[in-house]
């Protein structure tokens, strides 16, 4: 076979592929694996923040609600274990006498005396005692309680009812009228319930709640059958679940009403509707991450733009004109270098907190402050480069050709500074984003309702949130890390690519 390859003479340009300087840089850049990875990371985060926000079906401050079951202390129930005394009309049986009765009853003595009066008692049934003085019924002591439905019941009715109740009778007569007593302790007169006997005392824990008889019965049933919860439908047709807990030391039951309440769905777990769950205000985490990315990136870019603008102008002037201008500007740079920026921003941030500044205005100030504090390093670099370039032959040639000073600066000097400028800007984008997010994390930077990757993470100051809701803070941290790392990888790659001395 004939060798078809063309042969060029040794000094033929076509022997080597000629690349423009830009293409060389690009080639070197794309050969750097870390840089390419960084570029992909950055692109991902940009798409996520700027396009993701448009695609997300939710808004950054859209709140989601959920009905959760809240338990509220509804009633407290005490089983009565003490004697309660009911005194007949017109009679007296004071507390001192009651104490004497208790003593006598405990000892089993059938009579006791107090203040010259001799009393005697008779056990009528379980926990029901009638107390007589000189043969007349004075009072009775009972652990069961007669509750009146509407009208007050006379003493004798109560007495007879209790008597019937403890002896398991279903009817009794008092004062000539006959009453019936059903199994649940209801006292019925002519078919109407006028009262009931029960050993439980039910007190409502909420103001204005009237405990109906029906509810009481259901509750007592539940307590007697020792179930821990029951369902009850009230007169208004609402059905609630009640949970009964028995407190052994206080010997009472507390009844918790489980109510459906409509609240912000705080810290909801990730689901198909909300891929990263909801935050502390019930806002969609993923959407907030996207908007937060926008804020973080935009702040980073604007700050670096301000810094680069000031840095190029001042550094360029210092480098190009030299002498006293240079001296003056460089001393200003020295002063700015010396100002502790982080403490200063913290002070300004808390001052803005105090002034209760509007969130949007605050963001603007934050950008201005950060930009104004970070131009000196750029100015220093630009000045150094220009001092270096000024002495080179091409500048002498440019000067000899008689072109204007402005043209010399902008056409010949500045383009040669651009590579270093791009590198330094890329790297400082990363550090600016870290600074901003740190401030926002401390609550001194971007404020609610705006999201920023820093202030999304503020909730972890609550140790419970930190340990239980990973989706509240880990995604934000990872977004930050990826973005900053992307800027640093790309910046590093660009530095290597722009520097022709770095041979590969």
């Amino acid at each position: 076979m004939e060798n078809k390859k063309e042969t060029y003479s040794l000094n033929d340009d076509r022997r080597v592929r000629v690349l423009s300087p830009g293409a060389m840089v690009a080639k070197r850049f794309f050969r750097n694996r870390l840089a390419v990875v960084g570029l992909i990371m950055l692109l991902t985060m940009f798409v996520f923040s700027f396009i993701g926000g448009l695609l997300s079906p939710y808004d950054q401050d859209e709140q989601f609600y959920a009905t959760t079951q809240q338990q509220q202390e509804y009633v407290g129930v005490v089983r009565n274990n003490d004697f309660r005394y009911t005194v007949a009309d017109g009679m007296e049986f004071g507390s001192a006498a009651q104490a004497q009765f208790l003593l006598a009853q405990g000892k089993g003595e059938s009579t006791f005396s107090y203040k010259d009066v001799t009393y005697e008692w008779v056990e009528e049934g379980a926990d029901l005692y009638s107390i007589y003085a000189n043969g007349t019924l004075l009072a009775f002591a009972a652990k069961d309680i007669v509750n009146e439905e509407e009208a007050a019941l006379p003493f004798s009715v109560k007495y007879e009812a209790l008597k019937a109740y403890v002896n398991g009778e279903t009817s009794f007569t008092a004062e000539g009228a006959s009453y019936e007593l059903d199994e649940e302790g209801n006292i019925i007169e002519n078919g109407a319930v006028i009262g009931y006997v029960s050993r439980f005392v039910v007190r409502s824990q909420e103001n204005g709640v009237v405990i109906s008889r029906d509810f009481r019965e259901a509750l007592e049933d539940a307590i007697e059958t020792e179930v821990s919860d029951f369902v009850y439908t009230g007169e208004d047709g609402e059905t609630y679940t009640y949970e009964i807990t028995y407190n052994a030391s206080a010997q009472n039951w507390s009844v918790l009403q489980t109510k459906d309440t409509y609240v912000y769905d705080r810290y909801a777990s990730p689901s198909s509707r909300h891929w990263l769950g909801l935050d502390t205000n019930g806002m969609d985490m993923l959407t907030r991450l996207m908007y937060g990315g926008r804020v973080s990136l935009v702040i980073g870019f604007i700050v670096v733009l301000i810094a680069a603008f000031l840095g190029i102008i001042l550094g360029g002037i210092a480098g190009y004109f030299g002498r006293w201008v240079d001296n003056l500007i460089m001393r200003i740079v020295d002063i700015f270098y010396c100002i502790p920026s982080m403490p200063l921003i913290i002070i300004l941030g808390s001052a803005m907190d105090n002034a209760q500044m509007d969130s949007q205005l605050r963001m603007l100030y934050l950008m201005l402050i950060l930009g104004f504090l970070s131009w000196p390093s750029i100015a220093r670099m630009v000045r150094g480069q220009i001092l270096l370039l000024r002495e080179q032959e091409f500048m002498t040639a440019a000067e000899a050709s008689g072109i204007r000073a402005s043209r010399r600066i902008f056409k010949h000097l500045i383009p040669n500074v651009i590579p270093q400028l791009i590198v330094i800007c890329t790297m400082s984008l990363g550090s600016t984003i870290i600074t901003e997010s740190t401030l926002s994390f401390l609550g001194l930077g971007v404020k609610f309702p705006f999201a920023s990757w820093g202030n999304i993470m503020t909730d972890v100051n609550d140790a419970f949130v930190m340990t239980h809701y990973w989706y509240i803070w880990i995604p934000a941290g990872i977004c930050l890390l990826i973005t900053v790392l992307g800027f640093n990888f790309v910046g590093d790659g660009l530095r290597d690519a722009f520097d022709p001395r770095m041979k590969r």
């Binding site: 010396c338 100002i339 403490p343 808390s350 994390f441 900053v484 990888f489």
Partner: protein, 328 residues
């Protein structure tokens, strides 16, 4: 040489004057919320003077009633005499509070600084000597990850894993709950265990830059002619790297390390705050967020002095270490 040093010191003092003036002006222009809220509290006490009277009295006692320039001059004259006034937040002389808290910051800064040096320099050299190898990629990427880690995120991750997950350390603070009951040795270990996570955060988030600096400088030295000569002479690679290259790399390293020595005193503002370590950083953070002007003024000046001292040391070392540099 002496002439240069004196010139630099004078220049530093001039810069310091400008910096403190800028800071003083800024602080004075801020709404002095602390004084106002204090006046409100005082005036609400039964039988107290009116708010305006209290405000005027407080302003006078804190020197806020005179103009910025006379105020600055007064501040400066006090500063020269070493008087920094009383902290509003801590209700004690600023200098006393400073003496109380600087120790922790210094220990924390010192340990993390030594760790940084011990880890970063060998790794940086390793990366440079094996440029473009897997080791180099891993080390460079690691350094960049360290730089890119937001300290608060990293600190929280450490807390999640080691404090609440494994339960090895406490979440916050310098001493545990039962500190007072411990023996002196136990107290030492208690404090030491509380410093582990903050130091880890500090080291990992700031190690990257020193690592990269070492690598870059080592690479530059390795490309120098005298290294080629040494290799051409047939010296073993070990000797080339550790005798010839590393010693030359030390020049910029010593400069930057010397320059960062004063920074050991400055405390770690963010890290201390994240872990509530009562060092100078956290103390100042608390003071600054509450508008404590005397303490904030002292802290800012302190940091400025440290920065200037660092630059000065770096410049002098640069000339002292490298015999090739002659200062005119």
């Amino acid at each position: 040489m002496w002439k240069y040093i004196i010139k630099r010191i004078l220049l530093s003092i001039l810069i310091l004057l400008c910096v403190t003036f800028v800071i003083y002006t800024l602080l004075r222009c801020l709404p002095s919320s602390f004084v106002e809220s204090m006046a409100v509290t005082l005036s609400q006490a039964p039988g107290a003077k009116s708010y305006e009277e209290w405000l005027a009295q407080l302003n006078a006692s804190y020197g806020l009633d005179i103009g910025i320039i006379p105020g600055y001059i007064r501040w400066l004259s006090q500063f020269v005499r070493g008087e920094f006034g009383d902290s509003w937040r801590y209700v004690m002389p600023v200098v006393d509070k400073f003496k109380e808290v600087i120790g922790v910051s210094l220990v924390m800064g010192g340990i993390s600084f030594v760790l940084e040096l011990v880890i970063a320099i060998p790794l940086g050299i390793m990366a440079a000597t094996r440029q473009y190898s897997k080791t180099d990629y891993v080390i460079t990427a690691g350094a960049l990850i360290g730089i890119s880690l937001p300290p608060f995120f990293f600190a929280t991750l450490l807390k999640l894993i080691f404090a609440s997950g494994l339960g090895w350390f406490d979440l916050y603070g310098l001493v545990g709950r039962d500190y007072a009951q411990l023996s002196p040795m136990g107290q030492f270990w208690d404090m030491a265990s509380h410093l582990v996570l903050p130091i880890a955060t500090l080291v990992i988030t700031s190690i990257g830059s020193l690592m990269r600096y070492t690598r870059t400088n080592m690479l530059e030295v390795l490309n120098a002619d005298y290294i080629r000569t040494a290799r051409a002479k047939g010296l073993p690679e070990k000797k080339v790297i550790y005798r010839h290259a590393f010693r030359n790399t030390l020049i910029p390293l010593v400069t930057i390390i010397g320059g960062s020595l004063p920074g050991l005193f400055s405390g770690a503002l963010i890290t201390e705050t994240l872990f509530s370590i009562p060092g100078i950083g956290f103390t100042s953070y608390e003071a600054m967020t509450r508008g404590d002007i005397p303490f904030a003024m002292f802290y800012l000046t302190f940091i400025a002095v440290l920065t200037l001292a660092g630059n000065l040391i770096a410049d002098i070392l640069y000339a002292a270490v490298d015999p090739r540099v002659r200062i005119s």
